[in-house]
Each structure stands twice: as C-alpha cells, then as structure tokens.
Amino acid sequence: MQDYLDVMRQVLDHEVVDANNVPCGMVDDIEMECSPGKQLRVTAILIGPGAWADRLPRIVGKLAGKVFGRHKTRVPWSEISVITERIKLKSRASELGLGKADRKAGKWISKLPLS
C-alpha cells in the first residue's frame, strides 16, 4: 500500500468525474501553495482551456487561448472524494461550474429528434 500521493503521476492529466460519475474534464493543472518555513501544499485542481493552454509552448498556447478561450475552473482539493485512475468529486458538475459548454451545446442538440 502506497503511503504517499504522486500528484504529477496520479492526479495530473487524469479524468475527473462528478458525484454521479459523469465526466466533467481532466486535471489540466494543479494549484499549489507554499510559504517560507511551511510545506508545499496542493490546494486545488484546475480544469479548462485556460489551464492546459499554459502548458503548451508559448505561441501554440496563445493560439489555443484565442480559439478555445481562457476560462478555467478551480476545484478546491477538499472537493475531491476518491483518487483512483479517475478523480471523483463530492459534488455534481453543475454545482462546481464544470461542464457548462456541454450543457450549452446540449440545449442546441435537444432540438433534434431522439436527443
């Protein structure tokens, strides 16, 4: 049994699902906090193009930001309920402001038959 968490390997770039097991993004970046004399602490996971665009080479990241927008959602670390291959959250996606684009696109698509 492992007694530590390797956030780069076990959290970053893993799928995030909400309390109902609905996918609501990937861990696009990790927020950490550190102050003199204190331990480095993970405070939140960041989800959205604004988070992943910053990880790309500068020019590509700028271009991605223009195409996909710069928004990112901050999910506090305390919102995480289980870490396995997936990161499961305690709340539903809509309560945390996740999955907005899908709900917007869903309104369009719901006008089609059998949607």
Binding site: P23, R55, E85, A101, I109, S110
Partner: protein, 412 residues
C-alpha cells in the same frame, strides 16, 4: 447458450469488420505486384493487432478507461495532444476514403453521378449514427460485412498453389533486379503492417468495450473475440492478396479502383458473385466510415474529459455528438472535391504508421502496471509480444515517410 451466442456474434463482427478500403486496396495491389511474397507481413500485422487490441480491451474492462485517457495520463498533455491531432487527421482522411468507397460502390450499382452519391452517403451516415444504437451499428455492419467471404471463396476457386501460399507465411524477401524494387517492396511491407494495424481499430475497440459495459468478467470474451475474430478477418485480407496474385499478376494488371476487386469475383461467379462482393464492400466501407468518425469523437472527448458514448442520450454528451457530425462533414468536403479515395487512403495508411508507436506505447505501459491492472496485468508473453511489436512499428514509423518519397508512393 447466451454466452456462446455472444462470443459467436463477437467473433463474426470482428471478422466482418476487419477489412476496409485501405486494406482491400493494398492487399490486391500487393498480390498483383509481388505475388504471395507479402503474406508473412499480413500474418505479422494480424499478430500485432491481436496483441494490442487484446490489451486495449483488457485495460478498458478493468479500468473502464479508453485509449486516449491513457495516452494523456502516461505521456502527458503535449505529446498526447500531438498524438490526438495526428490520429484525428488520419481518421478524417480514412473516413473520407471510406465515404468515397461507398459512393463508388453505389455508383457501380446505380450509375448515378459520383458527387451526388457522396452527399447521399453523408446523409445516410448522419441518419444511421444518430438514430441507431452502438450495439445495432456494430453488429449490423460487422455481420453484413461477412458478405466479403465471397472473396475467400473466389480465392479458393482460383486454385492457388497452396504449398507456395503456406511457404510465404515465413518472412522472406524476393530477389529483385534493382534497388528501387527493394524499396518498393519495403514500402509495401510498411503499408501492409499499417493497413492491418490501423490505430483507429484500437481506439474504437476499447471505446466499444466501455459502450458495451465490459467489466473484468469479460476478459475471456475479449481474448477469444480478438484472437479468433481477427485471425478469421485476416483470412479475408489473405484472400484479397491471393486474388491479386492469381487474377491480376499474370496479366500484369494493377487494380487501382476499389471496384476492380469485384472483377476477380465476377470472373469466377458471374453477376451474382459481383453483386455479393459489392454488398460486402459497401458494409465493410460503411462500417469503417462510422468507426473512424466515432473514433475521432471518442478521442477528443476522452482527451478533454467530456461526457461521451452512444449509450448516453445525445443531449447528455452534446460535444461528443457534434464531434462525429463535424468529422463526417469534413470527410465529405475532402472527398467531394474529386480527390481519388485510393490516393487519400494511401496517404492515411502511411501517416497512420507514424502514430502507431505513440498510441501503443502508453497502452503497453498501463497494461503492464500491476498497481493499475492488479491480477489482470500483462503476463510475460503479452509483455514480450508487446515490446516486440512496439519495436516493429517504431521501425516502420521511422521508415514510412522516406520510403514514400523514395518510391513515389509505391509507384517505383
């Protein structure tokens, strides 16, 4: 009895869905140019796709994670993004070629204008994928693709020298007069490996396992379906190569159009044989078009963590559904310009081989990770074969573009 039927249907679906337009073209051409001498490559590629699809199915059943989740997890965002873009470009090209292939089949049957048939094919695909379930699509197109068995019967009726056929399953390189011919042979080796191991098959297979709700109890089913289904499927590919060698090589003909495949059948079984062959080709090409479009949507959704799957109502996975619609439209725009589907598929197959290592390496890592896979981790055989095929496809990937340039796309 129910389990037996499930396994039988799974095997038949895997067999019927094995051949698509690229494989059909390259198999016929390989036989027409090099006789039976490339049969060993078909066997090698089949073993490779069995090894990796088995792993993809097993990983999906255990972790409920499809390929592009794993790619991002294991190689990181930047390399994963490059793989995603390359994989989807190849998928769109392949989808375009399959749509063109469907339009050609319909044109041969109806005589209607090609471009109108391309648009009709787009409408057909949008309706089928929107209104029918994953299970229905998978089974209908896979099972009716079995009409391609007419090519196996034709290959037998053409009475090849079976000893010679068997001998060529052992790796061999024929003697040629010029170095250029050796390069063309090498180009065909790379193209055949890629045609048999097309990456979208793995993406689709793993995503399909999740669509069908597999869990660890399905691992045996996965193994049987992959091994038997793909071996039987590859016999269709072998039959096409034999037809190329028996019907075209002696006449120094090079079949350039997908419709040319039916001529060998027509020579043996007449008009009805040709109609069955065209029916088989339609279901095989249409099945592959749907698989490539859905694969692209699966890839994007899995990479970015969107809700995905045909099992979800479309409004609950809206961006996933928009994605496959966009892929069909883009593929149609490519092929309606008048680009030859065969040229498109040749490029897509050569570019496919380049992304094979990027697709299979993360899969091999996770399937061999005891912490993730528990008791279902790769055994010694799966690991040895996995690493062996990773070396093979990496060499093929490195050689693909230089060979394409040197041989002018295999034309010599």
């Amino acid at each position: 009895m129910k389990k037996f039927l499930e396994i039988f249907l799974g095997i038949m679906t895997a067999m019927g869905g094995f051949v698509e337009i690229g494989e059909l073209t390259f198999m016929l051409n390989s036989g027409a140019r090099f006789g039976f001498s490339l049969l060993w490559v078909v066997a090698l590629g089949t073993a490779g796709i069995i090894v990796y699809c088995e792993m993809a199915g097993r990983v999906a059943a255990v972790t409920e994670q499809p390929v592009f989740n794993l790619i991002r997890e294991r190689v990181g965002f930047n390399v994963g993004l490059v793989t995603l873009i390359a994989a989807n470009l190849v998928n769109i090209l392949t989808c375009a070629a399959e749509i063109g292939g469907v339009a050609i089949v319909w044109q041969l049957l109806s005589g209607w204008p090609y471009r109108w048939l391309v648009l009709l094919a787009l409408l057909f695909f949008l309706i089928v994928v929107w209104f029918f379930s994953f299970h229905w699509i998978e089974k209908v197109f896979g099972l009716l693709g079995l009409l391609m068995v007419i090519f196996m019967i034709t290959a037998i009726a053409l009475k090849p020298d079976w000893t010679l056929v068997a001998q060529n399953f052992v790796p061999n390189i024929p003697r040629f007069e010029s170095s250029q011919e050796y390069f063309v042979y090498a180009y065909f080796v790379v193209a055949l490996i890629s045609a048999v191991m097309l990456p979208y098959e793995t993406y689709f297979y793993a995503s399909g396992a999740i669509e069908d709700g597999w869990n660890p109890s399905d691992i045996k089913l996965n193994r049987i379906v992959v091994i038997l289904g793909f071996i039987l499927g590859s016999t269709l590919a072998v039959a096409l190569l034999i037809i190329g060698a028996q019907a075209y090589l002696p006449r120094q003909l090079e079949p350039q159009l997908p419709g040319a495949a039916t001529l060998g059948v027509a020579a043996v079984f007449g008009k009805w044989g040709m109609l069955i062959a065209l029916g088989g080709m339609f279901f095989a090409f249409a099945g592959a078009a749907i698989e490539t479009a859905l694969s692209s949507a699966y890839n994007v959704a899995q990479f970015l963590g969107w809700p995905w799957g045909k099992y979800r109502p479309p409004k609950k996975a809206a961006r996933f559904n928009f994605s496959w619609i966009i892929v069909f439209v883009l593929a149609t725009l490519i092929i309606i310009t008048g680009l030859d589907p065969i040229s498109v598929v040749e490029y897509s197959i050569i570019f496919s081989v380049i992304i094979l290592p990027l697709t299979y390496f993360p899969l091999l890592l996770i399937a061999g990770d005891k912490n993730v896979m528990g008791n279902f981790v790769n055994g010694r055989l799966a690991n040895i074969l996995g690493w062996f095929f990773l070396v093979v496809i990496t060499l093929a990937a490195l050689a693909a573009i230089p060979l394409m340039i040197i041989t002018h796309g295999g034309k010599g």
